[in-house]
Symmetry: C2
Subunit: 283 residues, 2 copies
Amino acid sequence: MLVVPNTGTGRDGGVRPDRRTSMSSSLKCFQALELLASPPYELSVTDIAVELSLPVASAHRVMTTLCVAGAAEQHGKTKWYRLTGRTLWIGTGYLRRSVVYRTAFVILQEMAHKCYALGLNQALAYLATMDNDQVLYLHSVGNPTALSLSANTGERRPLHSTGLGKALLAFQPREVRDRVLARKMTTSGPRTITTEMALREELSLIRHRGYAIDDEENVQGTRCVAAPILDQTGDAVAALSVSAPAGSFGDALMEASSLIVREAALRVSVQIGYRSQTSHIHV
Amino acid sequence: MLVVPNTGTGRDGGVRPDRRTSMSSSLKCFQALELLASPPYELSVTDIAVELSLPVASAHRVMTTLCVAGAAEQHGKTKWYRLTGRTLWIGTGYLRRSVVYRTAFVILQEMAHKCYALGLNQALAYLATMDNDQVLYLHSVGNPTALSLSANTGERRPLHSTGLGKALLAFQPREVRDRVLARKMTTSGPRTITTEMALREELSLIRHRGYAIDDEENVQGTRCVAAPILDQTGDAVAALSVSAPAGSFGDALMEASSLIVREAALRVSVQIGYRSQTSHIHV
DNA sequence: GAATTGTTTTCCGCAATGCGGAAACGGGCT
DNA sequence: AGCCCGTTTCCGCATTGCGGAAAACAATTC
């Protein structure tokens, strides 16, 4: 339906667009799945057809396929489609594969409790990694309703505007840093850093003190402390953080929780192979 | 490759297998994804070709498609394929959609801590639902290494051999119960209930006391208490549980934690619309 | 360095498979 | 009933996926 230049039927030897590299029909499947993974999570064939700009008949076939594959199902009397548990199994394969996730799972919980013990009972603890030059949230502990904007497993945020992102970025190989720093930076909170120079300085500061601070840079009214998880080469493969409402997260508490977060991150780092003398971090 | 009866080419009017209903090429994609979601999590084209009994060339095209779709990627110098973060996002859509999950998230953590306070520091707390006549684990809190066999998010277990499963099954509509009870029951622990009659009795007991007990039925050396989460109709839509090594989980502790688990489950039930007078549960 | 083995990737003709307009079905409404 | 709106099935057309075979690439061995 899109105006494809010229699809090979031309007997005058027109340029064939280099198809034959991938199966386009399957791409539609994933577009549909991605739709179902976001609100309102349940859609009718027609909805899907509209969203993907497909003829209803085609959308219907796509959805039938997804049902046969066991990735989607039709719910009850309204014939709407939604994701199945099988999709959850496949998606969480990403987590099961991750050594960092398996290692940090318990430590993240302990970290959260130590923060509660400090009096930070609104705190939310996160484990995140870098994927596709973004922060990818892997796991969280705490009360998500306490923060105005909390992140779910699988969600993404920009690297430059979150504590987790800055902690990750500061300990990336230079090439990665340069690539990310070269991009446009969007504003998301009252104090988001948006210039390359300011961010470079911030990253250098983070490298020196070993952890990152987010003071309403990502979300209005939320402060956060984050520390990187390093591998044997000294590069960050993930990060841990604690966020809380700015009102209940004063400088003294930030200071105190930074110790907790750094200690937790270091513990994970060591367990995945990091040896302390390789790097700048000293707890 | 599979011996397909007869694929329509026969000019003598052979029976066409009713294709045209779904897109078979996409099914291969999901088979491949499912492979990548289980150990060893990283596979070469040839591995995938072997596992799916496909020609290498075809397997290669399937994987290229998955890469284009953003669901898989090739890792480093070894050209092996693995899942991407986008897959995690799609899969966790199942969780974000779930009201029970969102509601129980915090309560599950509180429940776990109350159990720790009892002295059960090896305890693992679970939230699970029923999907495809199986227990589907949604979330867990605690130290997974403490139990000999712990369940990850997205994992499945039979209904009849787990505390969670029995709690779910006991509060299903009769038709569902009958359907499940009619099936063969596998043994997985030293005391698994495997006869229909025994299970019926057990379920009736569970309905009366309002929660389920698993005494090494699922895993040798593990005991567990589970309570159902009920909706407005009084049917179970999910369940909460606490498991711990049998040695540290005596009858007195089981008794005490049953109160905690039931209270937590009731709290979730009420929040999702359950009204206490509709059912048999009394905390 | 050249030869060898084990991969992954590209090529390309064949026909199976997906496409989508249009028509049939279904089931909630006045 | 009769209408309306969304879902599902039909079916000829040509696009798209198929897979054997050969070419690129990579990692060892002689």
